[in-house]
Symmetry: C2
Subunit: 187 residues, 2 copies
């Protein structure tokens, strides 16, 4: 049963990505996604609240992963070392399927409403990182600054990775930019 | 004529802030703003496209200021020195009226739609900074990384300044965080 459920979500996801790319996100209905997936709209709504959630269903898992990585980082890790471990975790989660991520990104880039949703997601992740650092005892303004700097690295690394024509390693991209940040941040 | 026009925009702005705070942004109409300002709705629409724009009318001026500061920065300025000059410019523009900024922020914080608009504004500013650095010959990924790091400083500095009960100096807050960033960014 659990296995079949997982299969259904994947089939909806694949059908939705196909249709969003073919017709545009706005023009696609849940009924069409269900038909393409060979399933019913009723089953769709057991997996997703709406057609937008098909593209953002992983957001909460991503946030929880970042929070867990900060909690599990060694107590003596510096704020940015802890952020680095969180970004490693996010890369393991987000970097699995380059082709899927590229297709998803193309759909989001074509739609202002989806871009807004993506910005809200990033703000939520930044808040989660800041909160996680404060829980580690990092004082302000360092906690907020390290969190926002981490999101800066995340955004540039993910943007480079997802727009690359050939597949690169998202974790390596994040490490490279984390290492580069102190020099870039110097005046 | 020009002086009177400026006065009208200010009167609409003051009336809108009062009403958004008293009744909530959603519940306030343009007709009510005009009535409170002692002007007509028709005059309102000569100054603002809608009631949201009253809160965001300065966004384009802010972006243009950042772009001009990057263009005018000394040719040998490092990317983050140029970003620092742009942030100084933004502080001169945004930091003029602490009480007004606090009132505006309280309204935005109470409304998800306005928060989204603010996130879009920040993404637009980040893109403008990245583009301005590339125009200065800064290669990637440094241009995007410095731009996002600059926005990180901007957001934390502005957030601290606008939530402070007593007035502080926004430019000094930005300089402090810019100076702090290389150490915070080190692992």
């Amino acid at each position: 049963m659990a296995r079949w459920e997982g299969g259904a979500a994947d089939r909806f996801r694949e059908a939705a990505l196909e249709l969003y790319a073919e017709r545009g996100y706005e023009q696609t209905t849940v009924a069409e996604i269900a038909e393409r997936a060979g399933l019913t709209a009723r089953t769709f709504f057991r997996h997703f609240t709406d057609k937008r959630e098909v593209l953002f269903a992983g957001s909460e898992t991503l946030r929880e992963g970042l929070e867990a990585a900060l909690r599990e980082a060694p107590a003596d890790a510096s704020p940015m070392t802890a952020i680095g471990l969180a970004l490693e975790r996010s890369a393991a989660f987000l970097g699995r399927d380059h082709r899927h991520s590229r297709r998803r990104q193309a759909i989001i880039s074509a739609n202002p409403e989806l871009q807004e949703r993506e910005l809200i997601k990033m703000a939520t992740l930044a808040a989660a990182l800041g909160s996680g650092l404060r829980d580690r005892g990092v004082p302000e303004p360092d906690a907020s600054l390290a969190a926002q700097a981490g999101i800066a690295v995340f955004q540039v690394a993910f943007g480079r990775w997802v727009t690359a024509e050939t597949e690169t390693d998202l974790a390596a991209e994040m490490r490279f930019l984390l290492d580069r940040l102190p020099a870039v941040a110097s005046r």
